[in-house]
Symmetry: C4
Subunit: 212 residues, 4 copies
């Protein structure tokens, strides 16, 4: 992505953020969005903290290095920048999206005891990177929420190495993280996982299904 002009990256991320807000996935200043600007030196652009995502614009992003130190931009980077940095490193993700939807919040609670959930047999899964058939079992880890970002990032790091095939994970009572090697792929993963979480949550709301 070195050839992408910087401002285009932030324009695309801001547009994605506003669209997540419009879908109810990033209300009340929740949600954060990042992309790798360059790998050498490592530079990540990430949303500043505390913003209304319905009014997210390109100058609401900051550029940080691999340690999260601010290189450029105004305000504080999102408190969850440490999580983005882990994903950029261990998954080689170039785009990382974090949303708080109603269904991801609900399903994260329903599946907290099992530390995750299987999503299986759906055609929609084929849109996930590397998946070739609906005959696929996707494990979506659920990780306990934590305000200590260093500790949380290290728990996530461990979970990611235990589940090397996972395309995302849920933070309990909090929301979804997903990523991709490009913005387009991360957006696809986001839509697919949010879709599947809605399918899972609504299916559990059907008594004949959930009582079996």
């Amino acid at each position: 992505m070195n050839t992408v002009r910087t401002s285009e990256l932030e324009i695309s991320l801001a547009e994605l953020g506003r669209s997540c807000y419009a879908r109810g996935w990033a209300l009340g200043t929740s949600g954060n969005f990042s992309a790798v600007v360059s790998r050498d030196p490592f530079v990540l652009t990430v949303t500043a903290t505390g913003l209304d995502k319905g009014r997210l614009f390109p100058d609401h992003f900051l550029r940080v290095d691999a340690k999260g130190k601010v290189l450029e931009g105004l305000g504080q980077p999102s408190a969850e920048t440490a999580v983005h940095l882990v994903l950029a490193e261990v998954r080689q993700a170039n785009a990382i999206f974090h949303t708080h939807s109603v269904w991801s919040t609900i399903v994260s609670e329903l599946s907290a005891r099992e530390h995750g959930l299987w999503i299986e047999g759906y055609e929609m899964l084929k849109g996930l990177d590397g998946v070739r058939s609906h005959v696929h079992r996707e494990w979506l880890p659920v990780i306990e929420n934590d305000q200590d970002m260093t500790r949380l990032a290290s728990v996530i790091d461990r979970s990611l190495s235990e589940h090397p095939e996972a395309h995302g994970f849920l933070l309990r009572g909090h929301g979804l993280y997903t990523w991709g090697t490009t913005l387009e792929m991360a957006k696809r993963h986001l839509e697919i996982l949010e879709f599947m979480l809605e399918v899972v949550g609504r299916t559990r709301s059907i008594p004949s299904t959930s009582c079996l």
Copy 2:
């Protein structure tokens, strides 16, 4: 907020009202919105009564004093102006929003017997003013609805002093009130509480959860 030009306040409130209508939170002339114009002398701008919030514009607001007497503007102020005045006084709120969503209506009935509900453990709560962690228990009072606005305002006044930490309350079978020291904060509180009410209502719709 004394430095904000008056017309900008009403422009922002009208925009917020139309956006609430578009989300289904202020259908059929329901909902009302206010903001403090100045504290000394006390002036509140508030929606006129009986308006279609899908067509709410700046000249649909009236300015009233601390007693609710009209200082400026056409039409009658919202019947619930007395409630707005209580909130402006006892919570020092500078923006006060009242919405009628499907989920706030449903949850207000589900929690009427307990006179409120606890919302606990959700990251989204961190967006409420003064909350620093998802390890937070938010009490959302449910107050019996009443057409006698003087009596209702005094019941609300008492409930607010019993629950000094509350960021909003529900009127039973009626809807949500929330507020903030700025328009931005009140909007954030509104989105967060409506989000949480949807999470609570949908979680209660899942048999394995609600039967436990």
Copy 3:
């Protein structure tokens, strides 16, 4: 409404129809909308049959007399014009809206055996014409669907005289009719009744509520 210029009436009705389509209340050519142009002589403007309501424009309306005979316009008037004419006469309605929403369809089936449902205790009911308090019991009749429009219109006529206070009714497995003395009032009634039907349907989806 004699002073309203004709074309404005159809412009407003077409806008309302497109907005109902956008909300999912008039999909697949369903739904029809009318307004009284004049009382003496009696002229009603009503949607032509078989139209995509997402593309409803003013020239998609026809004008008919009190017997439903076409006075002006292209195409056939909606098959349900006879129902509109009954409402214009016995309720003195000047605007009549018929929608097919998911929740009105579901609730009409749930309440078919009782030939209707009570909606009670909700603040939103205060927006219905003549209702002054949430302490109100609104009976929403459910009438069996029928393809014989003359017979259906006469069953509706009888139901309306049995329930002189009703602000609307459901056709079973079909949808909602509501009306008002003005377009604004009919729109308000539509939003309020659709809101209440969603509240009723979702409340019934909550096991602890529906099993009691």
Copy 4:
């Protein structure tokens, strides 16, 4: 449809695709859309594979012959082109739409064991081609999903001849196919079937209904 100018066909299909995306029926590159350009020689225009349907434009379509061989356009035709070709042939469909909605996915699983579901007694069914009354029983087949498109197309072919009256079918865990002799009819069928699937799914979520 020979008289329709080619580019208009793709403009209309692209618009429909974007509108399906906006409704959540074609997220994450899912969904595909086609129309017959001419019958003699047979030419079908169909979406290229792997596209974000929120950004579907006329040049994202390819033209293929009756065997699926590309005649014109960039990229690969949708993997499911074989299914479109069967429908164009055995149903004489001139427009074929395939969507992945939450409700079609859920209902396809609920009705998989019975290989389909009856939808009966709803006024909305009258909008299906050839249906004259709500007193109609529509069988919507559910076909097992398969990544082998030749095999899947032949199973679909057989199912279509067993159910000559069907206006659509579900692929299990995958989504809906529907069609029409014109784009307008296919769009109507799509909206009607998606509406009915939502009604069916939500009705099954109501305990008193689903427990009976």
